[in-house]
Every structure is written in C-alpha cells, then in structure tokens.
Amino acid sequence: MATLTCRQLSKTYPGGHRAVEALDLTLEAGELMVVVGPSGCGKSTLLRMVAGLEAISGGQLIIGGTVANALEPAQRGVAMVFQNYALYPHMSVFDNMAYALKLQRRPRAEIERRVHEAATLLGIDALLERRPRQLSGGQRQRVAMGRAIVREPALFLFDEPLSNLDAALRVQMRQEIRRLQQRLGASMLYVTHDQVEAMTLADRLVVMREGRIEQIGTPMSLFEAPASCFVARFIGSPAMNLIPVKRARDGAHLCAGLQLSGDPEATTRAATLGLRPEHLRLDPQGELAGKVEMIEPLGVDALVHCRLPEHHEPLTARLPVTALAASGIRQQGAIRLAVDGPLHLFDDQDRRLEHAARLTPLSSLFAV
C-alpha cells in the first residue's frame, strides 16, 4: 500500500496536443481515488503514465516514495485492470494469474498459494483450469482483478473496468471492488467516465477537464459545492439545471422572471444560477412558473422537464410521482415549482461564488 504523488505531471504528444497539463495530485495509502471526466479529458493518459505505458513529458511521478518516471512498468509495483480485461486468451485462468509471478521466478509453491488465495477471495477458484473465452463477462472481470491482486501491488490502476458489463453486473462488481479495496486496504486509482460509479466508489473524486484538474474532493463535497459549472453539470444525475443570470438596466439581476437578491457581491458577479433537480418541489405559490414539456417516470420519482419563459434550455425537476399525480400535472400543462435547497452561483468564468443570495419573484418587486 503506497502513496502516489504527481508533481506538475504533463504529457504532450508529438503532434503538440497537451493531454495532461501540470497536474498535481496525491493519493494517500489505502485510498480509492476516482478520476472522472468526459472522453478526451486526459484521465486515461494520466493512468497510463502512472502505469508506465505512456512516456512522461514533464514533472515527477512518485510511487511509494521513489521517483518512478523512468522505471519499467513491471518495476513500478503497479497492477492494472484494463477496460477489455486483456486476459491472455491462450492461457488458463491459473496461468493468466500466475504469469507475472512466473516471470519473477517465484517458487512454484508460492505461486500456487498466491493464485489460490486470490481466486478464493474473488470466488473464481472453480474456474482456474478454464480458458478466458469459456468465461462470462463478470468472470473475466474477476480474473482480470485476480491477476492484479496476485501481484500484491503497491497501487492498483483501473481503466474503466466495468464499462463492458451490463447494468446489473456493473452495480454488483462496483460493490465488490469497493469491498475488496476495504478488505485489502489497497491504494487504488480508478478511471471512469460514469459519474454514478465515481460517486459510489470514491474516497476522493478528481474531476478532469482538458488535461487539468477541475476539482478534487469527496464525492459529497463535489455534489454539494461544485467548484465550476463543469463539475456542477458532471456530478449528479440528472445534471444540475444551469440558468443564465441576465443583467437589467436598473442593476437588478434577473433570471427567468425572477430576481436574485441578497449578498451584493454575489448578485453583481453571478452569471449562472445552478439548481439541482432534486431541490425543486411542487408548490402552487412557487417562484418558478413554467410549462411542462415532458414527464419521464423513474418509479418513485419522475423527471419533469419544463420550459421557463425567456430561458431556452428545459429545466428538470425530480418530483415524487405521488405528488405529481395528486396535483394533476400533465404534459403541456402549467407548473409552479419552489426552490427547496441551495442555490449555486457561478461567475462569468464559470467559477463558484460563495454567497448568501436568494430568489424572489420579480412581481414582488412591484408589490413593495
């Protein structure tokens, strides 16, 4: 179990494309850190640089206290689980798991013991004589993890390991990875583009965008206080509603027929208002009035997409199905919603503003 430290780590491809730019990161021993971001954000490049599959263009990579920039992949003490598992097709499950140990010229008895221990841990001890093609997707996934565990690495690397599984199996394997990580106390760096996977697995979450870190923190801190519009949109499902704040001549800050009042620092600089779909509720006196465009029932809750006046993107609310039925709201009908949670404000650079502002209906301005 080792720490991983990246200091100003960079990757520039020969064509001049900068995949990772001056990245600083510390992964504590025994921590599961998930790197998440859209495709092309550099998360896989980062992982491959740590693994040694990609040359490092700048900065320092320190694994367990030693600078690993120039070390061969096998000498870094890292094990990787690949997206398509990369099992050795012509070898049995046992040989797949034993291969690294065989190359290390470990004694036969030790190899057998370690492979069997890992196989038992993963529940694949009955499959050791099989070939990879005789295994199901979930079993292959386990073998791929077994191959990593057998090596007793200082650091596990996961490259979107669950994206080839069906939804049910993905949930199950996700929990299994988490359980395994806690049991082994292993340090893990886990790359995914799936934000649900990221939220549920991570001790700490790293959101990357265009080769840079957008925000690091616990999943809940990112959910509660996204540092930018990008993170706000990326973390949480369905995504946060982002409504532009318009500036009127008289200096009032309006958005969708509403006024932003309170903290002048926030109200003068806010460019975007963020509202989580979960933080909206049905209320006949609600400050947000709109027209329902579509209702997507999810079971307990339904996603209601409505259109606000003067705002082009639909506003999504997550509402209980029972409340929706009771209020008789249907498609193309009118709806009023109240904000029942924090307002997220972002400045014109899309950065988060700490504030104490609230929404008031524009009409109340005239009522005063």
Binding site: G52, F82, P89, A100, L103, Q104, P132, R147
Partner: protein, 281 residues
C-alpha cells in the same frame, strides 16, 4: 449464404467435377505411366490403367544413379527437402521478426521500412537473378545449400501477412504483458507465437511449396549433381539426345516430386482444423 436451388446445386457440382478432372487427369496419367515398362510407353499412347512395372521403376530411381545426373532420386528428394525447409523456415523467421518490429515497436521511418519491404514484392528472384548470382558467387556460395536458400528467404508476402495477423492482436495484451514484466522477446515467445500459430502453419505450407517448386534459381546456384533438386531432375530425365526419354522413370520421378508438398498440406491441414476449433482470439 445458402440457396436452396437443386438445379444450381447440380450445375455447381458439375463444374467442380470438371475441375477435378482437368486438374487430376495429368496426375493420373503420370501415376499410371510410371507403372509400365519402357517398351509399353514407346507406342506414344498413354495407358489409362496401371501396368506391372511400378515397383521396379520406383526402385530403380531410388537405388541407382540417374543417367545424366549421377545421383539417385533419394539424394534429389533430400536436396529438395533441405532447400524447401530452409526457405520456409528462413522466410518465416525473418518475416516474423520484421513484422513484429513493424507492429509492436515505434521507431523512426517505421512506415517507410514497411513499404520498402512491401516493394520487394515486385522483385522476385527471376527479376534480380543476375545481380543475385553475382553476389552469391562472390560470397563463394555457389553450389552450396546456403547459396540455394539465402537469396530466397526474404519474403514481403509473409511479412505482410504476419503484420496483418499481429495487428489483430489487441494492444492491451502487449500492455498487460509489459505490466506483468514480459520484455519484447518474452512477449514474442509467450504471446505472439502461440497466438499466430495457425497463420504460421499456413505460411509454412505456402512457403514450403514455394521452396520445393523452385526451378530457375537452383538451376543456377546448384550446378553439381550433389545439390540438384528433384524438380531440376525432371528436366534431365526427359532430355535425351539419341534415345527416347525413359518416360516410365520421368513420370515416376514426377509422382515422387509431387508427394512431399501433398504430405505437408495434409499434415498441416489437420493442424489448421485443430487451430481453428481451438482458436481463442
């Protein structure tokens, strides 16, 4: 795609049978002629059924030196085998390494190297025979096995085929093996070879037959009877100035020359089938 049309089925079968006859008849004639005595063949009419001299003809070829060559058929077949095996194994070894380098390593002018190799497809030995002969002669390799084999063992075709086969191996396999501590040679031995064995077997068949059927180059490079090949001896057997050619011997030699490639195909075909049903790619 399978069509259920009885007439079409019959037509295609008819075509196939015709094809078998066209290709099989000369072989059949050679086989039957090789079992007759010299006298029986002098009439000029090819017999369509076996005669009674088969064993004697073959035994004569295998045990006695062939007139005009001075070595027995056994020696000729052995020479052919050495050359064909040398060419097949040499071609596979060289193109294996070339294709491995081109697919799995990043080095300057990699694509250029590949296309340079590819261009040599246009330079078979017949085209470059004069300079090749010069080079081999300067090395003092004329009339040696090495001289017969070496100029033929670079193969653009095999390199190209192996390159395609290697490119179908997933890149992650290479990366996973690297993380497990396998170096390039180890990866070649533990992964590339076992995973391309069916391709290698196919190439071996093709290249063995290519080597076995060489005529022009061994004719030049092996000018003593000790290095003559079976294919070359056929020409010697049908060439006689004052008498009729010994057709019974020529046809028997032809039959014996045909057999080793057939044996290789049959042996390797079994391997193909096993390789195909066992495939895990």
């Amino acid at each position: 795609m399978r069509y259920d049309r009885p007439l079409l089925d019959r037509l295609t079968h008819l075509l196939l049978i015709l094809g078998v006859i066209v290709f099989g008849l000369p072989l059949w004639l050679a086989l039957t002629a090789s079992t007759h005595s010299a006298g029986a063949l002098q009439s000029g009419i090819a017999p369509l059924w076996f005669g009674g001299e088969g064993l004697a003809n073959y035994w004569q070829l295998l045990s006695q030196p062939i007139a005009g060559l001075g070595v027995s058929a056994l020696r000729l077949l052995a020479n052919s085998l050495v050359m064909a095996l040398g060419i097949a194994i040499g071609k596979i070894a060289i193109s294996l390494l070339a294709a491995y380098a081109i697919v799995f390593f990043r080095f300057p002018c990699r694509t250029l190297c590949f296309w340079l190799i590819f261009v040599t497809l246009m330079l078979p030995v017949e085209v470059r025979i004069v300079p090749t002969y010069g080079v081999v002669a300067r090395f003092g390799l004329i009339d040696t096995y090495a001289g017969m084999i070496l100029p033929l063992i670079a193969s653009a075709t095999a390199t190209f085929l192996l390159r395609q086969s290697f490119m179908s191996l997933p890149q992650e396999l290479f990366e996973a093996a690297r993380l497990d501590g396998a170096g390039p040679l180890r990866f070649l031995k533990d992964f590339v070879l076992p995973l391309s064995k069916t391709n290698l077997a196919a190439l071996f068949v093709i290249m063995f037959i290519y080597g076995w059927n060489q005529y022009l180059w061994p004719l030049l490079a092996a000018n003593s009877p000790e290095h003559a090949t079976a294919v070359i001896s056929l020409k010697n057997l049908v060439q006689s100035t004052d008498t009729l050619p010994p057709w019974q011997l020529a046809t028997a030699m032809a039959v014996m020359t045909v057999l080793p490639p057939v044996a290789v195909i049959i042996a390797m075909q079994r391997f193909f089938v096993r390789g195909l049903t066992d495939t895990e790619k």
